[in-house]
């Protein structure tokens, strides 16, 4: 019989009068991969903190490796030996892999460091996982996948028998995710238990031995292996079908065209985006989308090839201000990186409006007109003095509507569905659809399929930095998780 690693027994957690976990009841066995499908992210961070740090709970108890470590009557904030692999990461960028694995480990006793010995040990550990990453490499030079592997090794070396994987598909590409999942399976067979948290049920079903549907701090249903099918989940999810919304057909005229542009791979990349079209570029190995964003956001130029924007042609290594030319980039996690915290909603919304009015002079009548138009879309939050108190959904809306108001030729959405739960993803899809409907061409750059397919008219798959395949909407069924 397998040993029980973690048990949450009717746990209820409240913070500042709000209930984040409600009667949570589940267990994880040794060597098991327990999936957690995040339908609504409320309570996720509390759950992780609860498992790691035994924070006070309002009801129930937590058992770790058979011992009661937390109870509603008494919480002592002790730490359980649990490692969390998440986007933020716990590695030190300026140190090597060896240093991160050994020297930055609690309880590392040796004062004088023999790098050769440490490097050799890392090589052995890597070989066990079937990998060969140079242990002398600094963490800042590692890819997302290599960082994840290093974190996993760090967890193993720290003696953690339970690891939480917090929405790793947000930063791993499709290929990297598959590779990492293989390593997780191997490690699970060696007895490590995993809590695999993911926004997408397809992703979780692929790896988990059991999976639970987590919604607003409640576990709605636990799926056994044989129940992990699309139909079993249908009663609990919302529809992502956008067929009911008004859809404008794309025109043949290309608004943005890349011709023989070298981004990161050996082969040049070329594609065209038609007017009013939504084109999804799926970068399966995370090699190309970042350089492409850098080029389109004016941070770097191109070595070879040309970029056509309507009638104009751009080439050369000097960065071009594509924003001036009508290309607006909505970064990943726009709620954090695209908005100005100290400005009001209207100031944020109309931040780019000066480019559209005479001499940049925004008159009160302009503001009144914008407020009237967008009030219908976003509601009373438009009058918020500061955006700090807005919900994530409202901040996403603000970011997308700012671009909607600017009305550029092309809107580049970077990993639009990487963050957020099912409801937020659905809302983002609506926002992208709205951009499309207003005649803006949309370029989605993503390393994950997620639900981007629902809004896209065409999909291009990039692999090893070159175009590997292209699918029209009716062929999307050929591409799956």
């Amino acid at each position: 019989m397998r040993k029980e690693i973690l048990r949450l027994n009717h746990v209820t957690l409240e913070e500042n009068g709000e209930r984040y976990l409600d009667n949570l009841d589940f267990y994880i066995l040794q060597g098991e991969i327990m999936g957690l499908i995040i339908s609504d992210a409320k309570g996720c961070s509390q759950l992780i903190r609860l498992i790691c740090h035994n924070i006070p709970i309002s009801f129930g108890g937590v058992y770790y490796e058979g011992d009661r470590v937390n109870h509603y009557s008494h919480a002592d904030y002790t730490d359980n030996r649990v490692y969390v692999i998440e986007e933020r990461g716990r590695l030190i960028d300026s140190l090597t892999i060896s240093d991160n694995l050994f020297v930055m480990r609690k309880g590392f006793k040796k004062y004088i460091i023999n790098s050769r010995v440490l490097d050799h040990q890392v090589e052995l550990l890597m070989a066990e996982l079937g990998l060969s990453i140079d242990p002398k490499r600094r963490v800042s030079t590692l890819s997302a996948f290599e960082r994840c592997v290093t974190e996993l090794l760090k967890a193993i070396l720290a003696g953690c028998r339970f690891i939480i994987l917090d929405r790793i598909s947000n930063f791993l590409s499709q290929m990297e995710l598959k590779q990492f999942q293989d390593i997780i399976r191997k490690q699970a067979k060696r007895g490590t238990a995993f809590l695999y948290m993911g926004n997408h049920h397809q992703e979780v079903f692929q790896i988990a031995d059991r999976a639970a549907l987590f919604h607003q701090g409640i576990i709605w249903k636990v799926f056994e292996k044989e129940e992990m099918v699309e139909t079993a989940l249908q009663p609990y999810t919302i529809s992502f079908d956008l067929s009911g919304s008004q859809v404008r057909e794309p025109m043949e005229e290309a608004v943005l065209k890349l011709d023989g542009v070298h981004l990161n791979g050996k082969e040049p990349v070329g594609f065209s985006l038609r007017k009013g079209e939504c084109l999804m570029i799926l970068d399966t190995d995370n090699q190309t989308w970042e350089p492409l964003v850098e080029v389109l956001s004016g941070s770097r130029g191109i070595r070879d090839g040309r970029i056509y924007l309507g009638e104009r042609v751009f080439a050369g290594e000097e960065p071009t201000d594509f924003f001036k030319e009508g290309v607006a980039v909505i970064p990943d996690d726009p709620a954090e990186t695209f908005l100005f915290r100290d400005m009001s909603y209207m100031e944020n919304l109309t931040f780019l409006l000066d480019r559209k009015v005479w001499f940049g002079n925004i008159k009160r009548s302009h503001l009144r007109s914008v407020r009237k138009e967008y009030m219908k879309k976003v509601g009373p939050c438009i009058d918020s003095g500061k955006i700090d108190r807005l919900s994530l959904r409202e901040r996403y809306g603000l970011a997308y509507y700012r671009i909607h108001l600017l009305h550029p030729k092309v809107a580049v959405c970077v990993q639009p569905l990487a963050k957020g739960d099912m409801y937020l993803r659905r809302y983002v899809l609506d926002l992208i659809q709205e951009l499309k409907n207003s005649g803006i061409s949309v370029l989605i750059l993503t390393s994950n399929l997620a639900d981007n397919m629902d809004v896209s008219d065409r999909m291009i798959i990039l692999q090893d930095g070159k175009v590997a395949a292209e699918y029209a909407k009716e062929e999307f069924y050929k591409v799956g998780w």
């Binding site: 030190i92 960028d93 020297v103 004088i112 751009f314 290594e317």
Partner: protein
């Protein structure tokens, strides 16, 4: 290029921050050649020995500042600690105290400043600029008050051994000041590159949150860095005391800026987490060579200051440009 030399080259540049050190080192060589052509006495044995003796104190305070900068902080109290060290040791020696006991007590006083700096920054979470600005003023005040607002008298013949040890004496034909700085460089370089403390210093400068999660004692590590800084400043104060044979209240004035310059020219990042002490050697050498070479070339002090200031700005600029990879060609925008 054969495989052996390629691996040597690769290994050299794999060392963190070595790229900038090599670039700056090349600049140093060019500078030496130019000054040698302008005035051939630049390469005379006497001048080289003197030059090394000028570089030594800058190197020492540079080491201290590098430690602190790598943790992502700054130490503005270096100059005042130098002055404090000079005044305390000289005052005690003029009062007839054994020079070595005076050195020991001075060292303890200076280390207290290091501990206070470390605790203010890491424990009390004060911005390092403000915390060390405060201790800078306090240490300068101590330097002034220790002999009732007067420079001390000459430390006298009893302290001859002290003066020889720190400044005038030679070992194997090399001035002791140079030997002291080399020994301290070796010790602190080993500490930074080969020990757990060294890794922790880099770690907290790179990512303080991840360091906490990895069990690094932030307060202890930051304090250690400030301790190294105050220790080096103390030694420099003793060297100045030995040089002038008396305690001067304004000793070490603006040395904190020299220390920052030596570190930054040598490639230590002001943002923390990056830098190597060999770079500080090059940075301090550039500083010394410029001072010495421009003096030989007959440039007034004002010009020397302008040149050195410009070089500090240019080295940081080059660092920023190289790191961001913004060296590009002109675009060709076609209609």
């Amino acid at each position: 290029m054969n495989s052996k030399s390629q691996s040597w080259y690769k290994r050299l540049f794999a060392v963190r921050g070595m790229g900038q050190v090599v670039t700056v080192g090349f600049g140093l060589i060019v500078m030496c050649i130019v000054f040698g052509i302008i005035n051939p006495t630049f390469f005379s044995g006497k001048n080289v020995a003197n030059l090394l003796r000028q570089i030594a104190p800058i190197l020492l305070i540079g080491i201290g500042q590098s430690y602190v900068l790598i943790t992502g902080n700054i130490d503005l109290s270096i100059g005042s600690v130098v002055g404090m060290s000079c005044m305390i040791s000289a005052t005690m020696m003029t009062k007839g105290m054994n020079p070595w006991v005076a050195v020991l007590l001075t060292l303890m006083c200076c280390l207290i400043v290091g501990v206070v700096n470390g605790l203010l920054v890491a424990k009390c979470k004060l911005p390092p600029f403000i915390a060390t600005l405060g201790t800078m003023t306090i240490a300068r005040g101590v330097a002034q008050i220790v002999n009732n607002n007067y420079n001390t008298d000459a430390i006298g013949d009893r302290a001859k051994v002290f003066r020889d040890f720190f400044y005038y004496g030679k070992t194997a034909g090399v001035y002791n000041t140079v030997i002291i700085s080399i020994v301290l460089w070796l010790v602190f370089n080993f500490l930074l590159s080969k020990t757990r403390t060294g890794r922790h210093i880099y770690a907290i400068g790179s990512n303080i949150e991840a360091s906490k999660l990895s069990g690094v004692n932030i307060v202890a590590t930051t304090t250690k860095a400030y301790l190294v800084s105050s220790f080096c400043s103390c030694v420099v104060g003793l060297v100045i005391c030995a040089t002038s044979g008396m305690g001067t209240m304004d000793a070490g004035n603006a040395y904190e800026m020299y220390a920052v310059a030596a570190s930054v020219i040598g490639g230590v990042s002001t943002l923390g987490g990056q830098g190597i002490l060999i770079g500080t050697v090059i940075g301090a050498s550039i500083w010394g060579v410029l001072q010495n070479g421009l003096q030989f070339a007959g440039a007034p002090v004002a010009i020397r200051n302008i040149v050195i200031g410009a070089i500090v700005v240019i080295s940081v600029l080059i660092d920023v440009i190289v790191r961001s990879g913004k060296l590009g060609k002109k675009s060709k925008i076609e209609p």
